[in-house]
Structures are given as C-alpha cells and as structure tokens.
Amino acid sequence: MSSATQIDLAKLAKRIRKHCVRMTGTANASHVGGSLSAADLLAAVYGRALRYDPQNPQWADRDRFIMSKGHACSALYAVLAESGYFPVERLETFYQNGSPLAGHVMHKNVPGVELSTGSLGHGLPVATGMALAAKRDGRPSRIFCLISDGECDEGSVWEAALFAPHHKLDNLVVLVDYNKIQSLGAVREVIDLDPLADKWRAFGWAVRELDGHDVSAVEQAVTQVPFETGRPSCIVAHTVKGKGVSYMENKLLWHYRAPMGEDMTKALAELDGQP
C-alpha cells in the first residue's frame, strides 16, 4: 500500500469529522462523539472496501453497508455525500425541519442508506439476512455492518452473532466501534464487554482487533475480508469517543453535547491542523 492512499483515507476521515462537527454544532444535535469515533472506519470501508455505484444505488450486486449505530448518522451522511450519493451542501439541512437527514439514520429520500436505524440491535440481524440472501442467490455482495459497543448489550446482536457463523456467512463483516463509552457511562462500568474479541471468537467469528484510528490497519482489515473462508468476519476496533477534537476525546459529555459557537470554531481549527 502506498503512503498516498493512506493520506487519502486520512483526508476523507478528516472531511467526515469536519462535517460531523458542523452538522451537529449547527443543528444543536447530539452524538458527535460516537460519530467522530467511527470516522476512520467509515472512510476505510467506503474509500477502499465497498463496491457501490452512487449513480445506481439499487444495483443488485452492490456491497451493502448497514449503520446499526444509527445515532452516529452524521458520519454516515457525510461519507455518503463525500462518496457522491448526494451533494455535500445537503448536509447543511441535517436535523432541520423538512430535511430528509434525520437525527438517526433514515432511508427515506437519502440515496445510499440501506436501512433506517436508531433503535439499537436491528442492524446486524438485517445485515445477516442480506448476507444469507446473497449467498443463496450466488451474488458476490458483501455486507458490512457497523455496531456500537453499547449496542452489544442488545440480545438481538447475539442472536445474529450465533446465526451467521452457523450458516458460514463469510460475506458478512461486523465492525464494532469500541469507544468504551456508552450513554450513561464507561462501558466497563455499565455492562462490561471484555473480553469482547473473545466473545465474538467464541461465537464462531474470525476476529481481528485493531486500532480503529490507524487508517492503514483498518484499510488492510476491510480489504482482506473474509479473514477465514466459511466464517463471518468481526473487526473489534478500539476507538476513542470524540476522536480528533481534544476537548471531546474520551468525554461522556460529548455523547450528548453539540459543538456550538466557540466550540465548533475550536474543533474545526483543531481538525484543520491535523494531517
């Protein structure tokens, strides 16, 4: 891999982060922290792995991306706009009256969104159904599904986690954005998930654990799936909530607070100063 490609992905991730800050700050919307933690993952998936055609969003053989942590929608909308599904200017309507860009991922009138989410624990079962349909039809489609760590509290995640390896769905990839902070506190204090990678392994997934902000590591992982033939792949990405904005990093507050006014200026300046 050339260093040029790494820089490209880093730049895409940076643009995603700036969109997230502007969107949530302008709209006074929550969830910037969990959007920033997922930015590098989204950049690598859309920038390298996913086979899609923005001119033909319903192309049957496309890969599909399911954003199961629907509250981090600003990051998805940003990468969809950056990938050519709709004009970047539309992001300015985020969370506004009459906009299609709701505060959770909604598919209505948003090209490129495969599934509306916002209630946690829905994405992986649907992604699993898509993977199964592709297998049975002999289509090359792969399904990538991004879930949050807090979401792993949901039983339905583990229902799908049991099902997919049993059916050898190696066209299914789950990425866990393990930023260690959920709605009311640190994950290890709310419902400890550790050892998380071992849990997925025990369920029969081929697992890689990596630094979710090391774009080249993420790039490598998402382009090397399936990690094992006959098994679904799981990427446990260790991330930082609020990554990229110093005053947000690892702060529960930024699960909720919107970066408005001075906060937004400071955040954008910090992001601009990064490579």
């Binding site: 599934l115 509306s116 989410t117 916002g118 349909a133 099902f163």
Partner: protein, 313 residues
C-alpha cells in the same frame, strides 16, 4: 388452517424461488416437507424471533418474499419493534405468520393465549392484517398475501378445523365475504371463530332473527363499505372475535361507525375482556368460558337486542 397454509405455500414456493420460509424453531411435522424438498428456500432461525424478523427483512430487501413463522405471540409481540422498524418502515416484502390465534393453545396457559395480536399489529403502518376463518379462506389468504407486494400479518388457527364455507367465494384482501343474507342483524366475524358465528346465526334463525353474516378476514384495511352497508341495511351490528375487545375487529368497525355521517345503529363487540384469562383448557372449553360458542354468541345477541328494544320503547 395451518395445513392449508403450508400446503398452499409449498405449491407457491415450488413455482417461485423468491419465496423463503424463516421459522423460529417451530412447526414440527408441519414444515418438514417444505424443509426437505425446498432446502434453499427454508431457514430455521432458531429460538430467536428478533433475529428471525431481521433476517426476513434483510432477505426481503434483497428481493425475496420472506415469511416468518412461529406460534402464538412469538412472531408478533416478542419481536414487535423489529416488525415495526425493519419490516413495516421499509415496506419490506415480509409475511408474518402466526399459528395459534386466540385460544388455539388454550391449555398451554396465558403465555400462549394470542388475544391482543390483531390490535397491536393493526396499529402498525403499512401492515395488512389477515385472520382467515377456515381452511379454505386460509388457503386463499396465503395466495393473496404472497401476491401482495408488501408486509402482511397472517393469523392462523390450528390444524384440523372444519371447512365452514359451503359455497364458492371470491377472496380479495380488504373485502368482506358475505356468507349469509338477512335484514335483522349483521354478524361480523374474523379469524377461527367463524364456525361458531355460523352456528349462532343458525340459532338466531330459529328465533326468527335473520342474519347477514360477514367474514371479515382482513381487519386492515377494513372493508368500511361493508360496515356502512350493514349499518344502513340491517338493524344491528355485532362483531365477533377470539381476541380482546380492545383494538381488534370490534374496535376497527366501531371506528368506522363512529365517524360515519348519519349512521345510528345498535352495535356491540363480542370478544374477550382486556384481562388475562383465569381459565386453562381446550379451545372449545375456553370459548365456552368466555361466551364464544355458537350458543354463547347467540345469547349475547338476543340479550342485546332485548335491551335495545327496551331502550327504544
């Protein structure tokens, strides 16, 4: 009804490989031929109704006609939000099939009494709600929901119910079947209670009361025209269902009547109170305890007509 459904589905699935049956580890002996002969169109999701529903939605969003299949409240209430968000909001071509509507599993206890399902499912946008009255309707309903390109809920009874329809009829989603014509009262029935409603109509006839009998197999969309015609053309309307009187057929009919201009017709919902049944027993026993046998229904109608007559005098 269960047998009629699976036989019809099997025939349809042989012709259309888009059809996939996703079961929640239930259907022993029932789904076996389907499972063995159409393995590529069969999935056992295990005891995991949320995943079963999500799987079906994902497959439907990939071009399949996906059916979820389980018993009593498991494919509906257990995974309700998955039905709402994944299936209904996406208008995914999923058919939710439940065997054991009402007191089919009466002896199994309150967990297995499916008596709020119609109310709950009827409240979900985009969802067609169908409760056939006998095996012939169940077969026709199966064909109709597979042909319909959107989410449906099919509420079935058990296996081995008698055929109630003695003459040929046209089955159309959203259209009531008029089984008997009479000018005194209208009895509207949904689901497996149909046989008892026919018996009630027979008993009423002996008392000189002529019944218009409507099989309202589709609770949503409701055949409002049939309701309004009954209000205009007969003297009283009774709805009958093996389901809570809250939110089911009775409520759906009441909503139409209450908002219609110039309609004034005596009306009563015959069904179950909003309560966990204190009884355990066979479907027939449960029907008897809850006034839903032919005799019980006829008695309620007669009593209600006497009260109405008293009021009018």
């Amino acid at each position: 009804m269960r047998t009629a459904f699976i036989k019809e589905l099997f025939e349809l699935a042989k012709q259309d490989e888009r059809i996939v049956l996703v079961v929640g580890d239930l259907g022993f002996g029932v789904v076996t031929p389907f499972m063995e002969q159409l393995p590529k169109q069969f999935i056992n999701a295990g005891v995991a109704e949320q995943n079963m529903t999500g799987l079906a939605a994902g497959m439907a969003l990939s071009g399949k006609i996906a059916l979820t299949y389980s018993i009593a409240n498991f494919p509906t209430l257990r995974c309700l939000e998955h039905v709402r968000n994944d299936v209904c909001y996406h208008n995914a071509n999923v058919k939710i099939v439940s065997v054991g509507g009402g007191f089919t599993y009466g002896a199994m206890g309150a967990t297995h009494h499916a008596v709020e399902d119609i109310a709950v499912m009827r409240s979900l946008p985009n969802l067609v709600v169908v409760a056939p009255g006998d095996p012939v309707e169940a077969r026709a309903a199966t064909r109709a929901i597979i042909a319909y390109p959107g989410p449906c809920y099919l509420r079935l009874g058990k296996a081995g119910e008698p055929v109630v329809h003695q003459s040929r009829f046209e089955f159309e989603l959203g259209k009531a079947i008029r089984m008997r014509e009479g000018k005194d009262v209208t009895l509207m029935s949904t689901g497996g209670i149909l046989l008892n409603v026919v018996r009630a109509a027979d008993l009423l006839a002996k008392e000189g009361i002529q019944t218009r009998l409507l099989s309202m197999h589709t609770v949503k969309p409701l055949d409002a025209e049939a309701v309004l015609a009954a209000a205009r053309e007969t003297e009283a309307i009774f709805t009958v269902e093996e389901h809570s009187v809250l939110g089911g057929l009775g409520s759906a009919v009441a909503e139409v009547l209450a908002e219609a201009d110039g309609v004034k017709v005596p009306f009563k919902r015959i069904g179950l109170p909003s309560a966990f049944s204190p009884h355990i027993g066979s479907q027939e026993y449960m029907q008897e305890r809850h006034g839903l046998t032919g005799e019980g229904i006829a008695k309620t109608v007669m009593a209600s007509l006497r009260t109405t007559a008293g009021k009018l005098n």
